[in-house]
Symmetry: C2
Subunit: 343 residues, 2 copies
Amino acid sequence: MTALVSDRGLEVLRVIVQDYVASREPVGSKSIVERHSFGVSAATIRNDMALLEDEELIAAPHTSSGRVPTDKGYRVFVDQLADLRPLTVAQRGAIEAFLGESVDLDDVLARTVRLLAQLTHQVALVQYPSLSTSRVRHVELVPLTETRLMTVFITDSGRVEQRLLDVSAPLDDMLIGELRAKLNSSLGGLGLSDAAAKLATFVEGFTPERRPVVQQIVASLTEQVLANKQDRLLMAGTANLARTEEDFSGSIYPVLEAIEEQVTLLRLFSEMEIEPGGVLARIGRENAGYGLGETSVVTSGYSSSGGSVARLGVLGPTRMDYSNNMAAVRAVARYLSRLLGTE
Amino acid sequence: MTALVSDRGLEVLRVIVQDYVASREPVGSKSIVERHSFGVSAATIRNDMALLEDEELIAAPHTSSGRVPTDKGYRVFVDQLADLRPLTVAQRGAIEAFLGESVDLDDVLARTVRLLAQLTHQVALVQYPSLSTSRVRHVELVPLTETRLMTVFITDSGRVEQRLLDVSAPLDDMLIGELRAKLNSSLGGLGLSDAAAKLATFVEGFTPERRPVVQQIVASLTEQVLANKQDRLLMAGTANLARTEEDFSGSIYPVLEAIEEQVTLLRLFSEMEIEPGGVLARIGRENAGYGLGETSVVTSGYSSSGGSVARLGVLGPTRMDYSNNMAAVRAVARYLSRLLGTE
DNA sequence: ATTGGCAGTCCTAAGGTTCGAGTGCCAACA
DNA sequence: TGTTGGCACTCGAACCTTAGGACTGCCAAT
């Protein structure tokens, strides 16, 4: 399809994207020959631009103004033209210094998302890692009142899950103690799906009059075992949307509204294939289904000790600095994988 | 100070605030006599308005345009004129239905903050409750690798605190087991400050070569015991800022930036005195120190089972519907107190 | 394939005018 | 003393016109 566009034509597309992203103004043939040394005249550039326009890689906001990249143009830029230079030493240093201090998983992720926002000047997103390959470490039952109980569930990967529970019959300490002991001895060390299976038949070892209460507790625990924090998302840097307000046709209201709905973003994340170590961009209208037709999302995957993968990335106006942002996302994802992999 | 302003004058202030909040346009004497039945002529209203202006309760954006409330005017309105009608039945129903389903504390608060945002169409804030009066329920040590450990700390109020820890010497299961047993037997049931005191001398019961490791673990636990989730804040409804964008002189960028800094908001919260059951407003420039000089904050306190108090509230442009928002904040705070009080 | 030239397009900024809402003030009035 | 109608005045919002300029598209020449 780009067969019609010469190499120089692609080079022209590159500088159009770069200049437009930098200046936010449509770029004309004259300013191209001024700012870049193509060794040809403006008229020649104009011919190339006409081809690019035929291919719908650039478009003119008004009949006689400079050209602006289309979504398709950004796509070609990202796929063929962007060079992801590694971060500067200072930036790498900042990552290490900032993430190095973390005290636990929550802290690591909270710092990561802030860091990413700062590095890219966009909205940053970090999904909680899936911990499906982890094993049961400990189960704790904490009676709060006669009929109220907290169940705490701990895995060897550091995930802690708590839940409140109202039971239908009064609890006695004997039962709680017995239950706790049995739960821990039969579940300890099991993988999560095995643990869930075991819980399904757990109630059988109890006398009929105790079963209802035990059943309630077991049901709650089963939920916890299967619950996956991967449906959680951290976000930072929403203020950056306001900074780049002019890049949105109307108000930024619909965008802010869309990204407040975490479910939306998680679905969007889940639709993006992640090649390990790679970084992916979804551009402009590709996100239209989510009310985010004027934004782009750059993501990468990171892996935690469990070997499973979660995503992180940034979201911003279609007119964003893809080179920088993709490099930053990639670097942070890699660093995070390294950090979590050793745990 | 308001001695110079007649009762009718205050009534005029009320309708100016109400009309301006509703229409976002400066309100003139003529439109007042049209929309409200004062039984006097526009000229008379003008005289009252002149007095209100002398008192700096209203101001004219331009020499010959309608009047707009000043911060001081909003203050008088809030203190003397606003009537907080109770929520509608439908709204009360929504609160009960929405919060009733919650499964644990995190869930309750997450739902609360979203509810409040929806009810007020502003940015909603909910501070985590202080749990200082709770007692130690259980301490769990989870070895992850030879030198890596997770400490989990559970209180009877349902708070769960986890932390990762690298220790300087390899751990053995014997030590962990002994430590776990001793910790639980000596801390169980203690109040938090007592527990911290006990931890300070805890290391003494161990042999010298074990002390360094024990000391590290104890130090981590002490931090956890003293850590207070009250420095955490939930937020929802930031999109509402974009919706009311015109109410801010420049961009909403500085506002978004300020509210991303949770520390700022917590400090702001902490400066607002809470009378139990009351609801308070900080208006416009009163928040200037926080980069929030064009916003108002409406808060109330709520109490959890511990008897201690945390805050919740909404933040929005100075030009906001104080009556509605204060009523909503009060209602949600009360409902939340009731809900958490029974736990 | 490239280039200079040139006509034509259309946006933007600046300046000027009108229009009207609203005020302040005053003299008259109850 | 408080209220009212009248009136001159102010000043922003909206609209129009004009001039300027940045570009393009096309063509004929190289």
